[in-house]
Assembly symmetry: C2
Amino acid sequence: MGTRATSIWGWGYADKFPDTEARRALAEQVSPLLGGPSLEPREPAPLGALRLPSPRIAPPESLAALCSTDDADRAAHTYGKGYGDLVRGFHGDFSPAPDFVAHPRTEDDVRAVMDWCGDHCVALIPFGGGTSVVRGVEAAIGDGFQGAVSLDLRRLDRVLEVDPVSRAARIQAGATGPVLEAQLASHDLTLRHFPQSFEFSTLGGWIATRAGGHFATLYTHIDDLVQSTRMFTPRGLHETRRLPASGAGPSPDRLVLGSEGTLGVITEAWVRLQARPRFRASASVHFPDFASGTRAARELSQSGLHPSNCRLLDEQESFLNGVAGDGSSVLVLAFESADHPLHAWMERALALTASHGGECREGARYRSDEPGASPRSGGAADSWRSAFIEAPYLQNVMVSLGVIADTFETACTWDRFDALHAGILEAVRGALERVCGGGLVSCRFTHVYPDGPAPYYTFIGPARRGGELEQWLALKHAASEAVMAHGGTITHHHAVGRLHRPWYDRERPEPFALALRAVKDALDPQGILNPGVLVGP
Amino acid sequence: MGTRATSIWGWGYADKFPDTEARRALAEQVSPLLGGPSLEPREPAPLGALRLPSPRIAPPESLAALCSTDDADRAAHTYGKGYGDLVRGFHGDFSPAPDFVAHPRTEDDVRAVMDWCGDHCVALIPFGGGTSVVRGVEAAIGDGFQGAVSLDLRRLDRVLEVDPVSRAARIQAGATGPVLEAQLASHDLTLRHFPQSFEFSTLGGWIATRAGGHFATLYTHIDDLVQSTRMFTPRGLHETRRLPASGAGPSPDRLVLGSEGTLGVITEAWVRLQARPRFRASASVHFPDFASGTRAARELSQSGLHPSNCRLLDEQESFLNGVAGDGSSVLVLAFESADHPLHAWMERALALTASHGGECREGARYRSDEPGASPRSGGAADSWRSAFIEAPYLQNVMVSLGVIADTFETACTWDRFDALHAGILEAVRGALERVCGGGLVSCRFTHVYPDGPAPYYTFIGPARRGGELEQWLALKHAASEAVMAHGGTITHHHAVGRLHRPWYDRERPEPFALALRAVKDALDPQGILNPGVLVGP
């Protein structure tokens, strides 16, 4: 994490929060999109005015060296980075703060903290990058505990072993994206997992939440990149064998993936790496409308060409991102390879998009790095990625302007997409009208599978100052109901946490709830691990 | 299954068991490979001489119409098709026969049989194609039950729904490979899942055992082809949502995949289909030795080219399969696509294999079917597939000749392969020497992943008549110990069953055993489902 200060209430580095003038300038750009409301920037609660409850418990002598009872540290571990978190933090409300924060340096430390929590009926909340947008790291634990400890794993941040032959590495769970990639770079290898939270989120968090990377096809969900996992449970170490594949019973790793800190604390994983790409091809394809773009994206997903990027932006997103102002829907298309030039791939992809009315106005761009040269930066894919990584900072500004701005995502089969998309637009537009008096919804595909897309929605609307949380929850409710009604999943890559729990409970089969409850009772009999997430009250 | 009779003791159709003269001719080919033992064909026990225990229980009146108490039916449901099964069946020993066989026509029938078994403390063994090679369908249930029922699901064999847009179909679990492919063919779609047991095994069996298809890379394990599952448990219906992907908690389908009939009876699944391939490219590449072929296969697996076939045969397999007699190791390489010609793919693959000393003596072959034309048969890939499907018939002959012939498989990371391979060869050759006085071991890669291969071993040795089972178990033990000692999995695609259980128990993490036990107790509280497999004594 280095020494650059991160925001206690908002996304990312504190120094990236624009000053009042800059926010006022942004307000003038945003206001016309929302029908012209007056948007006056406000300032976040100063550090001295944060409201935290007094700790109910204190760290024992044996753990004191690992633990912090500092209010700033407790505040920084109170929330994730969802819209509701930002609003509460902006206003200085840190009421669900953990009683203290533990910063283990070793697996023994992890075990010691877990044992102490078990012995003292204290809830333990594993904490990686703290980038959850679903209240996944918040100590909203109910009344059954003496207190709550946030377990910050970021001191466990080393690449412990690299296997260049199998292209795999053993990495500690607390390593963030940049920290692990920096260690892999000297081996000319990359995990190539770039979720939007990449700068701050951790390997353990990705595994616990089944994170999706920014690649559109093939190996992009962390599920597919995990070769084995190491997780400490109250009933012992759950460590799986390093294997490329196995057919021996239900996959033990698949129980760890998505467990969201409820079954154990992930401390390490062997992950599958890739050689750094040397060849790149990219193109932007304009479609007359989202529907024709959707058909092209579907056919690409089923072509076996496996583009690394296949992001379809609807008319609204194309306009807001400045890639088209004429009502076009734009497909951002790219291929990457460490092995071969990509002309045959891109040419076939462009023939295919052309057959759906897609127009590649600027022609495809090809780049190749000479072997041995240091990887070049620049180019469309890189600038797209950089904009993608920067996007969450805008949400900080929106909160200060009194604008509700949030995203949600799902996945569904292709046959259901048209109805799901129409249903979501209707529900969210209706809710925005009702709750905010208007607003915008836009959509893009972040991932495309042969059997369906993962659409990602952004909605913004003017907030009533002081009523943001209530308004936002009403919008979130409308969106989630529409997703469920049209056959989507409540989350493709944002996890369940406490926010999505009611819809998750409807999505999963009832016997699976029994199964998960049984596993929880078997591995965490005192129920101290992240209470309220996935199972239990 | 049609009306063509299948063998009660051996693999496949009864009429494909060669007559005595033909078997004698085969004996003359096999004997020199084994050092010249006298191999005289014997005849299987006649139908009238099969030894089955008297049934302990009878079907109740309410289920009588679905159930068969016929000895031939009981015998046909006593075993799978592993070497040990064939030997016992050949000699007429059907002592673990189920008390009766149920042939449900509907899900209500399935539930009625399950309920009756639960009420009467009767073990229920789900039975698909009966092609298990790991004692997965054998009623070796211990003393805790009143009896055992084999639940044959093959009357549930319909494709119920086809979604051409998402390329998916809802298919009943009892459909065999040919039965489901025939129904999909009219939609110009294919599941493209071709395990060696394809002719006889069922969709439900593939899911329950995490079957591997014959494609070498990408979508080949049934795990990746399953979109949703429908499984009846004693505690209710476990039905998952049709989704291309999800990040909502641990995957419920992944609990069904590999459950081997212990948690419920799978009755249906939505599976991902593909358009029928129109373009094919194939080549045979000769390497001076297995080691250089291994390096080429590894690089291909990491290239992002995704060949449909990438089977590397060692010197022994190349010789036995008649593809090389000069000590070469041969890579059978192929690409398939429904979308695009494959020249760029194959050319790059051949450049890559050439850089490891691979020689493509005959040049690559390209084929393309005209759109609308009926799919052509013939060609290298098809003849390879046909030989692959025919191979298990040879095991019937070996049993009659008094030759132990069996296969086992695993998967490991590339960095461990050389040691694993050497360790396995040493262990199995040593055991063959000790137990059989000699014999052969050969190896091929059936699947290659970016992080490791799935090697598949065949061993043959002369048996001592009457001592086959004991000898075979000693060989199997040696092989399994070597697999485990060198970091492999006890099974990549043959499942655990009762045969691999001791090694499975060592492979899985201990907390996972607790978890699975807890799930079993939650979903099957009376423990009637396939007792002894995966969990419990």
